[in-house]
């Protein structure tokens, strides 16, 4: 997703002179192309994220569209008040790009995990939260970001995220995408969980479970219409996210489900703790928390048994 991000941004910046890119001293072997082509619109802000967001706000007040780039916790939690007051309160066209969604930096330890960001960013007024599911969704979100009014948080995976779509048309921030139209149960996935959710759907199909698969790339504003629609049409809904159980996609979907009449079994699949004692690769940690395709599949089968046994 990182390369989809920068390659798209470079193309956009050739046509749109409003685009600035600020980084908190990260982006080695990712951002060089932009830096070299647009040196007067690229700033390495140093290790000073609060100032980075404030400067971005100043640039945006002058009519620039400003992308700020860093690893998720540093570009969200570290400078949260600047995001709230300088960017969101003033409704500025700042695009906060967080890389390393969820457990991407698995061996780095908890300082580098992003397991609270969706919850926290979702709570800030005026801020939309977009978690692309693959490189193509990333590209589409970036393109739309130029005309999107108000501030945006875009949560990316890392390098080498697999492609889920062969081609993608009609992407729109705030509008969920259906990838499979099964009628038994629904999986709603956000961000870098999409490939695993898709794989889990394939595994379930082999076991005779027909899955409606939704990519909820925009967690805020959430696509209520799609959620209410699948609540009517399927027996169970499972949300999948590489984020803490509290406040993320699962919570956002639960909020919608709780206020609509259809009764449907609902289960959140997410990371259940943040400060764990063992580290490991992203794949290792995903399987530990049941976020690999097999784990997702198991949780779903278990949930379906509960429905059957009432």
């Amino acid at each position: 997703m990182r390369s989809a991000f920068i390659n798209t941004l470079i193309k956009l910046a050739r046509k749109d002179k409003r685009i600035f890119l600020l980084t908190g001293d990260l982006g080695f072997s990712v951002l060089e192309g932009f830096r070299d082509e647009f040196p007067d619109r690229f700033i390495n802000m140093g290790v000073a994220e609060a100032n980075m967001i404030g400067v971005a706000a100043g640039l945006a007040l002058s009519g620039k569209v400003v992308f700020v780039y860093s690893i998720v916790p540093f570009v969200t939690l570290r400078c949260l008040e600047q995001i709230r007051n300088d960017v969101c309160y003033q409704q500025l066209q700042v695009r906060i790009i967080g890389v390393g969604a969820g457990l991407s930096y698995g061996t780095s330890g908890a300082t580098h995990y992003s397991l609270e960001d969706i919850a926290v960013m979702r709570a800030i007024s005026n801020l939309s939260v977009v978690c692309p599911g693959d490189p193509l969704e990333t590209e589409m979100a970036l393109k739309e970001s130029l005309s999107y009014a108000g501030p945006l948080y875009i949560r990316l995976g890392k390098g080498h995220d697999p492609l889920v779509y062969r081609k993608l048309e009609g992407f729109k921030i705030g509008k969920a995408i259906s990838l499979r139209y099964g009628k038994d149960i629904a999986i709603i996935s956000t961000g870098n969980m999409l490939p695993n959710a898709n794989q889990a759907a394939s595994l379930l199909k082999k076991q005779g479970v027909d899955v409606r698969l939704i990519s909820m790339h925009t967690v805020k504003p959430i696509d209520k219409k799609t959620i209410i629609d699948i609540a009517k049409k399927t027996k169970a809904i499972f949300t999948v996210e590489e984020h803490n159980l509290i406040g993320g996609l699962g919570s956002a979907v639960a909020e919608v489900l709780a206020e609509q009449p259809a009764k449907v079994y609902f289960k959140r699949i997410a990371v259940t703790e943040t400060f764990f004692k063992t580290i490991g690769s992203q794949d290792y940690l995903r399987s530990k928390f049941g976020l690999d395709a097999n784990g997702i599949c198991k949780t779903i089968i278990k949930g379906m048994r509960k429905i059957r046994h009432g």
């Binding site: 007067d40 700033i43 100032n51 404030g54 100043g58 007051n85 300088d86 309160y89 003033q90």
Partner: protein, 275 residues
């Protein structure tokens, strides 16, 4: 000093007195805090808006305008009073300050009335935003300047120094910060809480050109503000030595008047002293 300049300073002094009368009245009606902070910064704001800055009350979005960011957003009553006096909006709107259904918050809020450039209130935000504006002006080859007013207590925020480092690294000589150094902060004397001295040397070490001034000597404030940038390719900082609550004897240099607001009798005395 030329006769003309002396006359200008005299006019500004009298304007500042009128602004102070507005401020105490606004705080008396709303019973809002921070009257002392507004009184301490009044002379600086008058000098900027009536002598130094290029502003356009008829077109707030004028790209060539100089910008004023009140990073110490709690002194918003002073800013509103000055903007009204300068013709940005009708004076009667000042009655909207910190009252039910009011539109003028206790901390400056962007576009709440024409002329308020940014939303502030949490300290330590303004200088970064100012640096961004100054950087954009440089990029766009726009000669407009950015003035950021900070409080002394505010300089305890780390983000101020992040911004200070950034501004000198990028040679933002169109960025000027003015520090309303009234020596009192929220819950004590600045020197007793977390002292700033040697304050000027700190700014100099961060790459800024520093000058100090009596923040209530109108002629000197105007002169120093008119001489920015002090050095080409360096941001300028003016440390303005001020008195919190300036102009009202019982409010001057008093911590209590960071919070208190004048009752009817106190207002009468204050207005008499500011006549």
């Amino acid at each position: 000093m030329t006769k003309l300049k002396a006359c200008l300073a005299g006019k500004c002094l009298s304007l500042a007195k009128q602004i102070r009368r507005e401020i105490v009245s606004m705080h008396a009606v709303s019973r809002n805090s921070h009257v002392g902070s507004s009184l301490s910064v009044a002379d600086i704001l008058v000098a900027l808006y009536f002598c130094v800055m290029k502003t356009n009350a008829n077109n707030c979005g004028d790209k060539k305008r100089d910008r004023l960011l009140l990073s110490k957003g709690h002194a918003s009553s002073a800013l509103y009073a000055v903007l009204a006096k300068r013709g940005f909006f009708p004076k009667k709107l000042l009655s909207d300050y910190c009252v039910d259904r009011g539109k003028l918050p206790g901390h400056a809020t962007i576009n709440c009335v024409p002329g308020v450039e940014v939303s502030t209130g949490s300290l330590g935000h303004g200088l970064s935003i100012g640096a961004g504006l100054a950087l954009a002006a440089k990029h766009d080859k726009n000669k407009s300047r950015v003035f950021v007013i900070l409080s002394d207590g505010e300089c305890q925020e780390g983000s101020v120094w992040e911004a200070a480092m950034f501004a000198s690294q990028h040679k933002l000589d169109n960025l000027i910060s003015v520090i309303d150094y009234n020596k009192l902060q929220g819950f004590g004397k600045t020197k007793d809480v977390v002292g700033l001295e040697p304050f000027g040397k700190k700014w100099a070490a961060f790459g800024w050109q520093v000058k100090e001034v009596d923040g209530h000597d109108m002629a000197k404030i105007i002169k120093i503000l008119e001489s920015v940038p002090f050095v080409v390719k360096k941001p300028s900082v003016i440390i303005a030595h001020t008195v919190k609550g300036k102009g009202v004897s019982f409010m001057e240099d008093s911590l209590a008047w960071h919070y208190k607001s004048p009752g009817p009798d106190e207002l009468k005395i204050a207005l008499r002293e500011l006549a």
